[in-house]
């Protein structure tokens, strides 16, 4: 699971209103190279919940001095874009779980795939 995906995932346990972002508890993380595209990164940034991304990076111990608020003119900062690219697309949680911040319900991640299925009465 890449952090770009994590940024879009939310808890949907019944009744939960503050199910985002899901807490990442990783037991295995891999870094897999992915071709960099500056345009992709700079266009993706405004679509992200930036705070959630910073939070996720912290949970993985990879804050990488990413700023907690976006700098102006980030589109032209190649070094910054590379950092964002890395954390969004190259750091992958292979094993672990995602935890709903409100209900505590844990969703396992196995072989890079989170299982978000709820049982019937959840």
């Amino acid at each position: 699971m890449k952090l770009l995906t994590h940024n879009m995932l939310t808890s949907h346990v019944k009744g939960v209103t503050k199910g985002y972002p899901l807490i990442i508890k990783a037991t295995e993380v891999k870094v897999n190279e992915l071709e960099f595209n500056a345009q992709f990164v700079s266009r993706m940034i405004p679509k992200l919940e930036w705070n959630a991304l910073i939070q996720a990076a912290e949970w993985l111990g990879r804050s990488q001095d990413l700023p907690s608020t976006l700098i102006p003119n980030y589109e032209n900062d190649e070094e910054f874009l590379h950092k964002v690219h890395r954390i969004l697309l190259e750091v992958e949680v292979i094993e672990g779980c995602l935890q709903c911040p409100e209900s505590g319900r844990e969703f396992p991640i196995s072989k890079g795939v989170p299982n978000m299925l709820l049982i019937e009465d959840e």
């Binding site: 995906t5 019944k14 190279e33 992915l34 595209n37 978000m116």
Partner: protein, 476 residues
């Protein structure tokens, strides 16, 4: 000259021990494409070959001119099912009114067609196919053809995610499946066949068959008649041997009212694929997945979700062509998910073997599509093949599920800019569900396609600016 052609091609072996002359001449290539996707295919041809494609009146076919040095590129196109080189085409062929006269006409025709160039292209094509070796695509097409064969599939060597699944998994057949069912190694069969030819090179005449597709109500003959009679004429002319299964040359005779196109197949039929129709609606052809993806017009940084991905046909096809978008594939079935994972691994391994070390902008999640664990308005494009069958494992029917799905998709899709491209065979149910969506979706257009012999629709929807009701995240 006629005698020369005969002898030249009588003993020509498939191995191409022959030195191939690069003609660099213009040739006309014909291609079959999923019906309804002629224009997206023409777009791809324009984009990648810079050739203008003509869409035939005979649906599901396009024609374009290339020079032979770009023939290998044609094989890399993703919209095309089967390829052939045009020997000649007539747009106003006058058929006689009795079978005997028509038969005589075929004989005359076979003798005077300009076979040479097309046969040279056919030979060149063989050497291209041998060189490729890695990838493979099979695309069973259904009969709106009244030809000799009700299903055709290609046996070229381009890549198709569907094929990989077969390589990896043991053959599993399900009803309403979207997985590929049985498939022996085409490559090895083809190689063996060529080897045999090699050994006997110079001594064995070419083997051929004629496949005829006929449409129109003014013909006094059937496609079988035409195939047989034209086949007889071809046999007499070339002194080739007719062989329905182990042929070297497949002569195509396409008759659509007064349009007649004679061609030579450049992609080979995989005969065992014919049985796939027994298993219900077929797997989603990669050409169809590709056509659907083109309809989305993926942009840089688009988030593209397939919420019922099965074994991943659509997202995998997508991620290989549009590497500047991000694909998220989900399914509720653990089996589907693990197959998708394996398919990705397989593709990654292949690209790594090819020298690239890059991963893919794709993730897989196991989820319930009626209750997506995703932030509202986070998705640019939703694209999926919507079969709801026994696979779901619950008693809910389409008429309950479709509205739930459409609502949930509307929630996650960006209002105003988002779109959905949805393939379904249950058109009635789909349209009804759509009408209940209170203006969340607007129909942009519909492409009618043929999937496994059944009429299906690819509905292209635009997400309107109407906000979804925030209320009960669980319900939708």
């Amino acid at each position: 000259i006629v005698g020369c052609i005969r002898i030249h091609f009588l003993y020509c072996s498939v191995s191409g021990a022959h030195i191939m002359q690069e003609l660099d001449e213009a040739v006309t290539i014909g291609a079959t494409v999923p019906t309804g996707f002629e224009h997206t295919a023409a777009e791809e041809v324009q984009e990648k070959l810079e050739a203008t494609a003509r869409v035939s009146k005979n649906r599901g076919r396009i024609y374009f001119d290339i020079t032979t040095d770009t023939l290998f590129k044609v094989h890399q196109l993703k919209s095309l099912d089967n390829l052939f080189v045009v020997v000649k085409d007539y747009d106003d062929y006058q058929f006689k009114t009795t079978k005997e006269e028509v038969q005589l006409d075929w004989q005359e025709l076979a003798a005077k067609l300009p076979w040479t160039n097309a046969l040279e292209v056919w030979k060149l094509n063989n050497s291209i196919k041998k060189r490729k070796g890695r990838r493979k695509r099979t695309n069973p097409t259904k009969s709106d053809q009244c030809g000799n064969f009700s299903t055709k599939s290609t046996d070229t060597v381009p890549s198709d995610p569907e094929e990989l699944w077969v390589d990896l998994e043991s053959l599993e057949v399900k009803e309403n499946q979207r997985d590929v069912s049985s498939q022996p190694e085409d490559d090895s069969e083809e190689e063996k066949h060529s080897e045999i030819q090699d050994q006997e090179s110079g001594v064995t005449p070419l083997k051929f068959r004629v496949t005829c597709n006929r449409a129109g109500d003014k013909h006094c003959f059937t496609s079988n008649d035409a195939a047989r009679d034209f086949g007889g004429a071809v046999q007499e002319f070339f002194q080739w041997k007719a062989d329905m299964t182990k042929f070297d040359v497949e002569v195509l005779l396409n008759i659509h009212n007064n349009e007649v196109v004679v061609g030579l197949a450049l992609t080979v039929e995989s005969l065992h694929r014919r049985n796939i129709s027994h298993f219900g609606p077929t797997t989603l052809r990669s050409t169809l997945a590709y056509g659907m993806l083109r309809l989305c017009k993926p942009q840089v940084s688009d988030v593209i979700v397939d919420p019922m991905c099965g074994t991943g046909a659509i997202p995998l096809e997508g991620v290989m062509e549009w590497q500047n978008s991000f694909f998220l594939a989900g399914d509720n079935s653990g089996t589907a998910v693990s197959r998708s994972v394996n398919n990705i691994k397989h593709i990654l391994k292949r690209t790594h073997d090819g020298g690239s070390s890059s991963g893919l902008p794709l993730d897989i999640v196991q989820w319930d599509l009626c209750n997506l664990p995703m932030r509202s308005s986070s998705v640019d494009i939703i694209i999926t093949d919507m079969p709801f069958g026994k696979r779901m494992g619950s008693k809910k029917k389409n008429w309950e599920l479709y509205p739930l799905c459409l609502r949930e998709m509307a929630r996650v899709c960006k209002p105003g800019t988002g779109k959905a491209v949805l393939l379904t065979q249950d058109k009635k149910c789909f349209l009804k569900a759509l009408s209940q969506m209170e203006g969340l979706w607007r129909k942009s257009h519909t492409v009618w396609v043929n999937v496994g012999g059944l009429h299906a629709g690819v509905f292209v929807l635009k997400r309107t600016a109407v906000g979804h009701q925030d209320g009960n995240p669980g319900a939708y």
